[in-house]
């Protein structure tokens, strides 16, 4: 009985000398893997306006809208592109997967909160902006099989080690 108490206490005290696990978000951001399902990226020069993305979307958050810029889209003469209502999107990315032309893509952007509800409506032009989120921290095991603890370290530093 008492040895078990001491064992439990020893296990707890041992942890004081290990590395701390915490990652200091938002100052440190985790490196997201390729294919992370964040917000969408629309390649307007590929989209044909077929509307399959709007059909498959479980949350019905895609609507096909005409754009009024003075560019020409030969593959999409009616200039109808998907517009996203991010208040409803569940980031399943079935839209990206079922798009026949590969006009939609994954991005690592996940900080999509806005102060104004209207701003959650993403127009086709806004969707075709390149992603901005850059994370670089990844979990690292210290010691043999991580017996010295786990930390999150920048990937560049890890590689040079």
């Amino acid at each position: 009985m008492s040895t078990a108490v001491l064992g439990a206490m020893y296990e707890g005290i041992k942890h004081i000398f290990k590395h701390t696990f915490t990652m200091k978000y938002p100052y440190q951001k985790v490196l997201l893997p390729k294919g992370f399902r964040g917000r969408h990226l629309l390649y307007m020069d590929k989209c044909t306006g077929c509307g399959i993305c709007a059909w498959i979307c479980p949350e019905r958050c895609i609507s096909m809208v005409p754009v009024t810029d003075n560019k020409e889209y030969p593959q999409n003469p009616e200039k109808r592109f998907p517009q996203y209502w991010y208040a409803r999107c569940c980031f399943c990315h079935f839209c990206t997967e079922y798009c026949p032309t590969g006009a939609l893509d994954y991005t690592p952007d996940y900080e999509l909160a806005e102060y104004d509800r209207e701003l959650l409506l993403w127009s086709p032009e806004r969707l075709s902006r390149p992603p901005t989120n850059i994370g670089e921290y990844q979990s690292v095991f210290h010691g043999k099989d991580g017996n010295q603890g786990v930390t999150f370290e920048p990937v560049i530093k890890q590689k040079s080690k």
Partner: protein, 377 residues
């Protein structure tokens, strides 16, 4: 004729003893999740308890009739977000049966790896919140949650999302194992096995935890069978029943693993059973990573299912999940019926918390690992 309004599903008798007091535990999270438990106490003892479920009912079964087979996946896995792959898999199996689609072997192995990772994550969640916090042990809460994050990181690498995977569609998983995944996963499993020893020392062998959980809320083997509980709760009462063995799906038929059982049926053995299951999950993932065949991961499944009905059963972290899907030659199911582990296990609660201290109720409730949203669907 009396025109009394129907009672909201509470069967506690109105003729109370003068010495008793009715207390409503929940529904807004004093540890009960989103579920109200009406208890009647006499001094420090619970006389009777009545779980009043339905607070987070979402009508998943009805919504499923209005969306096509693929679009149904995200909302059908939301009821239990800690265990998304299993809820997803149970729904996909009957559709594949209806459509006559056979998932290629590699796809089955990938699904199995994802499911066992999810089982570990779900049990770590249960260990942290349902068992750690409820028995007043905040250290294990921090440790288990921290280690769960490492599994989440890998699940994110595999599926692209941290918890809301929507990973399995009719025909197979959506993605192949990414480059470097096997190495990272086996390194994590090495680390995790070491951690399990530490968990054992600080939590499971800790005399203060044993004193609180041992001998509390005993569910005998016969009662467990009669009440129809499933999953870890059933196995902790000594019944060796696991869908992965009884009716193997995925790659489980090729893999070697044991089904841990305990005879006591008390809260402590329900704690331990999940601990043992995590060890088995590590074993399953190791074997699956070794044996995984090459080849295609998925077949193209039609978007329409023919007329007929099919059922699928999977062993989720909280017990057996059964889905019944009825097709009618269209792209939408005409009926989806869900039966899951949380719902079946809650029935044991009123029997377990009778004549125990009020302070023992969180222990018993936590040992059932009940997830209100899953039960309410």
């Amino acid at each position: 004729m009396t025109t009394e309004p129907p009672s909201p599903g509470i069967s506690i008798s109105k003729t109370a003893e003068p010495s008793t007091l009715d207390v409503s535990v929940g529904p807004q999270h004093p540890g009960s999740g989103h579920c109200r438990i009406l208890i009647r106490v006499d001094g420090d003892y619970i006389v009777s308890a009545d779980p009043d479920i339905g607070y987070v009912h979402r009508g998943c079964e009805k919504i499923a009739e209005y969306r096509n087979y693929v679009s149904n996946i995200p909302h059908l896995e939301r009821p239990n977000i800690a265990d998304a792959i299993h809820l997803n898999w149970g729904y996909v199996l009957p559709i594949e049966e209806l459509q006559g689609v056979v998932v290629p072997p590699r796809g089955k192995y990938i699904s199995t790896i994802a499911a066992e990772m999810n089982r570990i994550m779900s049990h770590l969640y249960g260990l942290a919140i349902m068992q750690g916090v409820f028995s007043g042990h905040t250290t294990i809460f921090m440790w288990a949650f921290g280690d769960r994050d490492l599994f989440i990181e890998l699940a994110e690498m595999l599926t692209g999302a941290r918890l809301t995977y929507s990973f399995l569609v009719p025909g197979g998983p959506r993605r192949d194992l990414p480059f470097g995944f096997e190495d990272r996963l086996s390194r994590l499993l090495d680390y995790f096995e070491k951690r399990l020893v530490e968990y054992d020392r600080i939590f499971f062998s800790n005399p203060s935890v044993i004193a609180r959980a041992k001998g509390i809320g005993v569910l005998k083997r016969e009662d467990a069978k009669k009440l129809g509980v499933v999953g870890p709760v059933l196995r902790a009462s000594g019944v060796k029943y696991d869908v992965r063995k009884v009716e193997p799906y995925g790659a489980y038929a090729d893999l070697e693993f044991d089904i841990p059982t305990f005879e006591e049926g008390d809260s402590y053995s329900r704690y331990l059973i999940r601990f043992e299951e995590m060890k088995q999950s590590v074993r399953i993932i190791r074997q699956a990573l070794e044996k995984i065949p090459k080849g295609p991961i998925a077949r193209k499944a039609p978007l329409v299912a023919p007329e007929g009905e099919a059922t699928g059963r999977v062993e989720s972290s909280r017990g057996e999940i059964t889905y019944l899907v009825m097709g009618d030659n269209s792209d939408k199911p005409s009926r989806v019926k869900i039966m899951n582990g949380s719902f079946r296990n809650l029935i044991a609660l009123p029997f377990l918390v009778r004549n125990v201290h009020v302070a023992d109720m969180p222990i018993i409730y936590g040992s059932l690992d009940y997830w209100p949203v899953e039960a309410d669907r």
